[in-house]
Amino acid sequence: MSNVQSLRCKECGRDYPQEPIYVCDFCFGPLEVNYDYDAIAKSMSRESIQDGPLTIWRYDDLLPASRDSAVDIGAGMTPLLKADNLGKELGLNNLWIKNDAANPTHSFKDRVVSVAATKAVEFDFDTIACASTGNLAGATAAHGAKAGMNTMVFIPADLERGKVLGAAIFGSVVLVNGNYDDVNRLCSELGDDRRWAFVNINMRPYYSEGSKSIGYELAEQLGWHAPEHIIVPVASGSLFTKVYKGLNEFAELGIIDNANTKMHIAQPFGCSPVAKAFVEEQAHPKPVIPDTIAKSLAIGSPADGYYTVGIANKTGGSGTIVPESKIAEGMKLLAETEGIFTETAGGVVISTLRRLAREGVIGPDEETVALITGTGLKTLEAIEDSVSTKTIDATVRSFDEIVMGRGVK
């Protein structure tokens, strides 16, 4: 059973049937899933949620497909951890880490692809496709395998090894020689005349809904309320806008009392069109050519950038541009204080958090959640220069000398 009423244009409000379409024919605005909230209010409660599976599908009243038909490899219900050590370091007494690296393919993209793959099956596609800088590739390939579909995953040839092999294990992956623009152009041409479910194009209205589940989980895991601050790594801005939407839906439905969360944008210096627009008080981010070690955030022309800036403004949030040199530092700080190894996007988030704490944007006792959206094992290259190891001979003497720093007696 699904509570979807229509796809609705975010700009002009026109309704469209539930099909694999993503843009309004009339004004070219993006289409978004529109639900029958009255029906949902009758069926959904804290208790009904708690009776559900320990995946994103426990919230299927607010997703565009039912758990009964879900392509499910266990996305969602990742740990929310009280980060007292990191908090102490930053002067924050009420800090939480949402560890979405604990998803099946180790990033939050499993949430969105689980929904996209489910809809792709429902729409009778036999091929699921994406163009990705890594995490989406792994998630799409894995869910495609689970659904028994053909997969077509396109990635730039210069991507980190962990991301290439971590996707290729599930099926075929196509490495494209060229830069971001080349991959973009190729995939838009390929998508035009092939009947594929392109998760980030014709499946986008459904796909992006999967990210709302982070908002729902945060509310549930905090004991049914919304936090005061959330720091979100931003590429296209989809995750950012949907976490916000999720919390607001819960508030509208009365599942939580209110959602007054301040939403903070985190971007790396080498690709920060959205944070820059926020800082410069522009409504529309200006496209850039990405050049950052945080490849998962390297989206130069962010589709939801405009909405992201709007939400950051409306909620009293902020936009932070993290210097490239501080990315690995953030990764290291989280690892050393909390025992969590995040990828570069997480490094951007932790460095943003540090800045917001230092500047007093986040007060010491304000409840704050940092979203950690992917694992460091996929981006080992980024920390090669910031960690050191010691190699010894297999003798106690060598151990004493090199590890303990004791001279020979």
């Binding site: 843009v23 971001y180 991959v183 200006k286 989206i299 996007a345």
Partner: protein, 80 residues
């Protein structure tokens, strides 16, 4: 004929100039405005262009050379 959906963003100095009209006159491109918002300092227009692929490319280069920022509407296809 191929279609292309784009956004033009104008800064103050350019808002008064008939860039879209000129685009249709100088090139074999049919322009079709779908949405627009013109404020005090900047303005933007979402439009559809119809014409041969190379003609649209040339036309967009000319628009950019006038100081108008041209962006693709759907954003990047590549995702993280």
């Amino acid at each position: 004929m191929p279609l292309r959906r784009v956004r033009f963003t104008f800064q103050t100095e350019l808002i008064q100039r008939p860039v879209i009209y000129d685009l249709g006159m100088k090139f074999e491109i049919v322009t079709n405005i779908r949405r627009a918002d013109v404020g005090q300092e900047t303005g933007w227009v979402v439009l559809e262009l119809e014409g041969a692929v190379e003609e649209i490319e040339r036309g967009l280069e000319w628009v950019a050379a006038q100081g108008v920022e041209v962006s693709s509407l759907e954003g990047d296809i590549l995702a993280g």
